[in-house]
Amino acid sequence: MSPRLQFAGISKLFPAVRALDDVSFSVGAGEIHGLLGENGAGKSTLLRILSGVYRPTVGSVLIDGQPVTLTNPVAARAAGVAMIHQELQQVPRLSVAQNMFLGHPLTRGGIFVARGEQERRAAEALAALDPSIDPAAPLGSLKVAQRQIVEIARALLDRARIVAMDEPTSSLTPSEFERLAEVIVGLARDGVAVVYVSHKLDEVFGICKRATIMRDGAVVDSVDLAQVSEKSVVAMMVGRELAQEQHRSHATGDVRLSVRGLASATKVHGVSLNLNRGEVLGIAGLVGSGRTELLRLLAGVDRASSGTIEIDGKAVRFSSPRDAIAAGIGLVPEERKREGIVPLRSITSNMALASMGVFAPRGVIDHRRLKRVAAEKMKRVNLRPFLLDRPIRLFSGGNQQKAIIGRWLAAGTRILLFDEPTRGIDVGAKAEIYHLIEELAAEGHSVVIVSSELPEVIRLADRVLVMRDGTIAAELDRASLSEQAIAAHAIPRTQMQAGKTGPQARQ
């Protein structure tokens, strides 16, 4: 029997770039197939070919053994391909049902939208996936995980035979992932071929049987995941062995930052902590536990309603990030595109934004000095390609992140707050960011890291605070640090019970 989906010798040439080079692999009906690779490996280009956005220069896509021409997204959908994007393409103000019928609404007589009928059919499609979703509710009122499920329900409505998911879980909590994983497994059971793209190897190993690894536009190998280790998969992605690194502590005994009873109006309820010179403090906890909000209070982005902050024994009070920056605190935010970079501006401008006073002591920017410092800091963070005048939007996520770190180095920041430091950053750049954080600590910077990736926290942190419901639920030192220990403190009791009795999605 021919496979449900087959890529046969696909190459895609852009002016001056070969984005895909003779890519061939196949996915059977009912198979969940992982697609792995670093940013720029060609995964997105391949998905765009599958969804009809691009056409291959050479090669073809076969569905159930038949070559198909996917000239545009509508044709791809008609051929039974559904794409579920990383950044969901939905309209929050419209209802769930309206979103599911977006672009091809059910009508009465071709004029009036048949809302009732839409909602009935939407409810049918949702019933199998998550009956708690109300088709008439505005989509914006749903959680991200539920919105993913709405997208999948939409694929069911279209009778999709192939579902491609691009980083579906990048903003989901572990329990939400479990729920989504069940839905995906259910899809596969019904004979749908699923192409699953994710940076999170543990997820891919959890729900996929086979995976194809890409690098530089070509397939490295298609492997049976039961036969290979995560480490060897990473080596295939990166093209070299990434050394398994040991944690090294540079923490000293001097308290640099001391926080007492810090609270915000909503999500943070009385947090006290100390941060020493050269220390890397990890903050773990579920999404919504108040981790991000705590960082925002410390960075002056949001205002604290009560509590005190002392830096080097001196009380400080922040009414804006400017105050925090002046006190030596800088935030590397989670959503780089929205909160980190000014996309049209150069690397140099983005770097200099927080320290304009330094570069323009008499009101006019000293461009020679600015260039010198930019070259120095960007060399320090190993920016690639090393083009300081190029708009930052043209750089990969990892290099944008390096530029933001460079911003705080240029501003003389001594306390760096990282919110999800490696979100959306590929494996190779991840290791670089880790090294950078360690070097900064070794130089005497104090670092706070909020991360959902427990291995990341364990790799980097000298000490971990676990947050739950806006408070510190536990403090773990290196000796007592483990994923299990963190999870035990992070998850509220009730949810843990539910998790135990719930069906297991990961086999």
């Binding site: 997105s44 804006s320 990030p321 970079i341 501006r345 006073g357 009101g363 390609p385 083009l387 005048d389």
Partner: protein, 325 residues
């Protein structure tokens, strides 16, 4: 997602040609084409006197457009420049007629411009209202104030001494042109060489990121509106100096020409992008076109048509050359 950027990353050639100066070169080519066309069609178009005429006719719009460019870069818009100019004009004019010393009368006009800009800026930056709506409201408000203050009548009979200030010339150029050239130079320095310029580009380019990076958002926006108000007041002084009278309906639809010049020059109404050089070229393009069409005795209806088509053509060329946004 990142594949596109990775692709362009491998094209180092593009890095030597800076995006902005390339855009300015495009505007310059547009100007040259328009000049060439009129030069061929209109005898005497290239006469020195006519070229100076074009500059003089463009100077008021250029003055407003420079302020507009800064506001647009900050992610806003200032629809109230015309009425701001009118209010500034009638106040200065009535003071001049009453015998108040020139410097004080002119300074008062500037103060009005700054105050109008301050109100716009505060409503946008501190109250958080949308710039389009705020300045639409103040457009009517400031116009009404000018009409109420004068009872709808023009202020006539400005002293000859005042008129000679703005009607003089320097290095063979009308003083108005020289003043606007100086303003343009200052605006260029502000945008390219000062922290304020970087802040404007950052606030318009990504306000949230700029805030977290410590950019003083409110101060930056308010300053942009105040500069726009000040330049509207300057344009008003130049105009009443030339006319010898101040009408409360002066500056009707000025905001549209100013926005047009900025947009032709490459400013993006999304914010975060714009060029002083481009805006000046844009203002001269509009001025040259009107001058040429007038010399050709083309009806004003067609001049309006031409203005509209130029704006659309500039935007289309922008879109096509920029490729995917």
């Amino acid at each position: 997602m990142t594949d596109i950027s990775e692709n362009t990353a491998t094209r180092p050639k593009a890095d030597f040609l800076h995006r902005f100066s390339m855009r300015d070169a495009g505007t310059l080519i547009g100007l040259i084409v328009i000049l060439a066309v009129f030069g061929a069609l209109v005898p005497g178009f290239f006469a020195e006197r006519n070229l100076i005429n074009i500059l003089q006719q463009s100077s008021i719009n250029a003055c407003l457009a420079l302020g507009m460019t800064l506001v647009i870069i900050s992610g806003g818009i200032d629809l109230s420049v015309g009425p701001t100019a009118a209010l500034s004009a009638v106040i200065s004019a009535s003071m001049l007629v009453a015998g108040v010393p020139f410097p004080l009368a002119i300074a008062s006009g500037f103060a009005i411009g700054l105050a109008c800009g301050l109100l716009n800026g505060v409503l946008v930056a501190h109250v958080g209202l949308q710039p389009f709506i705020v300045t639409l409201g103040t457009l009517s408000t400031y116009r009404a104030l000018a009409l109420i203050y004068t009872g709808g009548n023009p202020v006539l009979g400005l002293p000859a001494g005042f008129r000679s200030i703005f009607n003089g010339s320097l290095f063979g150029l009308p003083l108005a042109v020289v003043i606007v050239a100086v303003v343009a130079l200052v605006a260029w320095i502000i945008l390219k060489k000062t922290p304020f310029g970087e802040y404007l580009l950052a606030v318009g380019g990504n306000e949230e990121a700029a805030y977290i990076a410590g950019v003083p958002i409110a101060r930056t926006k308010i300053a942009a509106y105040m500069i726009s108000g000040l330049l509207a007041a300057l344009a008003a002084q130049i105009l009443i100096g030339r006319l010898g009278a101040a009408e409360p309906i002066l500056g009707n639809l000025w905001e549209l020409d100013a926005i047009a010049a900025a947009a032709i020059g490459g400013a993006s109404l999304m914010g975060g992008k714009g060029s002083v050089v481009g805006t000046i070229l844009g203002a001269v393009i509009l001025g040259a076109m009107r001058n040429g069409l007038t010399l050709m005795n083309v009806q004003s209806f067609y001049q309006l048509l031409a203005t509209g088509l130029i704006i659309l053509a500039a935007m289309l060329i922008d879109r096509v050359t920029r490729g995917r946004g």
